[in-house]
Amino acid sequence: MSVENTVTTKTSSELVNRDKPIKVKPLNKVTIVIRLTLLSLVLLSIYGFLTFDYKDVGLIEGIAASIANFRVMFTEAHFSHFNFLEGLHQVFITIGLALLTTLIGAIISLFLGLFAAQNLSTVRVSNMIKSFVAFIRAVPTVLWVLIFAVSAGLGSVAAVIGMTFHSVGYLIKAYSESFEELDEGVIEALRASGANWWQIVWQAVIPSTITYLVSWSFLRFEINFGVAVAMGAAAGAGGIGYDMFMASTFYLDLREVGTITFYILIFAILLEVVAIRIKRHLKTV
């Protein structure tokens, strides 16, 4: 085959119509959907800005005030209602909440996640669990906590149960999707050798997915740390979040808010670094 040959047998003029411009960007469904979505988001944002309830707070003054506040918070942070060690103690309470809810959530989710995975369960059971879980996730965590607080009282019990609820909703989805990605052949091999369901789960399913399970669980732990801070502030769950709430809405002490922000920031970054380490480690194993 020769280049000259190809050129002469099929001239480019067949393709090029002299009058029409040559289009370069073909419109397909994907492009259209992406553009429509983006356009709607931008229009909705603009509409939002036009209709928000600003309560006479000017955007520019607000931003200027915020910047001034940030400077005070971060450069003049101080202790007034608690000392360094007490603050640390409060952070550990928050971490304890996150830990407890993640662990309990992980155990419950592991079992329900097995039944929610389509390749390990029946379609009906799987769909039932999945839609129930979608409902659990749709209710914001703070509402779960507050709903539980009516009968259990505000405090760690309501916080732990409410946060566990939401963690379960999140982890069942994550776990069951990891199980579903498992190679069908692995399960088949064990089934062919006469293994029963639990044996397959313990010997094949969990060992092959453990890395995903661990990284999802730790990710949830990271999220739960933030949630635990929020629950301390919004639902009386104690910990550093509660101090934050007091400092900002009762004492109006910007400098102490700064101190608390430092505590939260440092621990959150620490968790993120560990999570990245775990993820990287698991990738190489």
Binding site: M1, S2, V3, E4, T6, V7, K10, T11, S12, E14, L15, V16, P21, I22, V24, K25, P26, N28, V30
Partner: protein, 264 residues
């Protein structure tokens, strides 16, 4: 004949202890078809990428078309790169864009930041793209998304993208390593034809010794970062191939190469 490319004592060191290239010297004449062969990790990819400064060589001198590539500033470097087309093993197309958009990417080097960013192509450029598609037998795939193409078709898009640059030289880094024998032959034939009919110089990394011997005007053997063979494919001996690849692998390669017509 003039020399299009000259390398003088080119070295490249990664980090503190990986020496990928050491004192490489060779030159390529205009219109020549040169294959670089050598074992994995010998430094072939590094060598190719040093030429248009995708990687900066640590030492030495690279003269392309009378210009010292290592001394160039940003603007001049972009200018140099437009004159050298690269063809990659994994095609490196923008999957979500159409075939013709991918090909026109080859023109971006000629554009100012603004016209380039806006993707404004002239009618001539578009016509040239269609012509190249025709030459490469892709006339039915113009508006297809490039991730819907087969490997061989993707590589032809890669070639078209390089050709629309109007390059003086093509650098090909294992262009057929991911293709089946049929598609490989099609790609190699195209490259050879392009080199002949358009007078474009080709420097190509290959893992298939028989293919290299069949298509090239000249073979450069690289081993552990040094050029250990530089000469015609006709005169290369079994021992020399052993020397390039290390003795054990040599047997396998020569068994493959034995019954091919080296002269092509």
């Amino acid at each position: 004949m003039t020399m299009l490319l000259e390398l003088h004592d080119v070295s490249k060191q990664y980090g503190n202890n990986t020496i990928a290239l050491s004192d490489v010297n060779f030159s390529v004449r205009e219109g020549e078809f040169v294959s670089v062969i050598g074992p994995s990790g010998a430094g072939k990819s590094t060598l190719l990428r040093c030429i248009n400064r995708m990687i900066d060589a640590s030492n030495g001198e690279i003269v392309f078309d009378g210009v010292n590539a290592l001394g160039l500033k940003r603007k001049e470097l972009r200018n140099l790169r437009t004159k050298i087309g690269i063809i990659f093993q994994h095609y490196n197309l923008v999957d979500r864009l159409s075939v013709i958009e991918n090909i026109l990417h080859g023109r971006l080097g000629y554009k100012s930041a603004i016209t380039g960013a806006l993707g404004i192509y002239s009618r001539e450029e578009k016509e040239q793209a269609l012509k190249l598609l025709n030459i490469l037998g892709l006339e039915d795939q113009v508006y297809k998304r490039s991730d819907q193409l087969s490997g061989g078709q993707k590589q032809r898009v890669g070639i078209a993208r390089a050709l629309i640059q109007n390059p003086k030289m093509l650098l090909c880094d294992e262009p057929i390593a991911s293709l089946d024998p049929n598609a490989s032959k099609v790609i190699m034939d195209y490259l050879k034809d392009i080199s002949k009919s358009m007078g474009i110089t080709v420097l190509i990394n290959l893992h298939q010794v028989d293919v290299a011997l069949k298509y090239s005007d000249r073979i450069i053997g690289v081993s552990k970062g040094s050029v250990v063979y530089d000469g015609s494919p006709r005169h290369i001996t079994k021992e020399e191939i052993h020397h390039i690849y290390g003795s054990e692998a040599g047997d396998l390669i020569m068994d493959l190469g034995e019954d091919t017509d080296y002269a092509g």
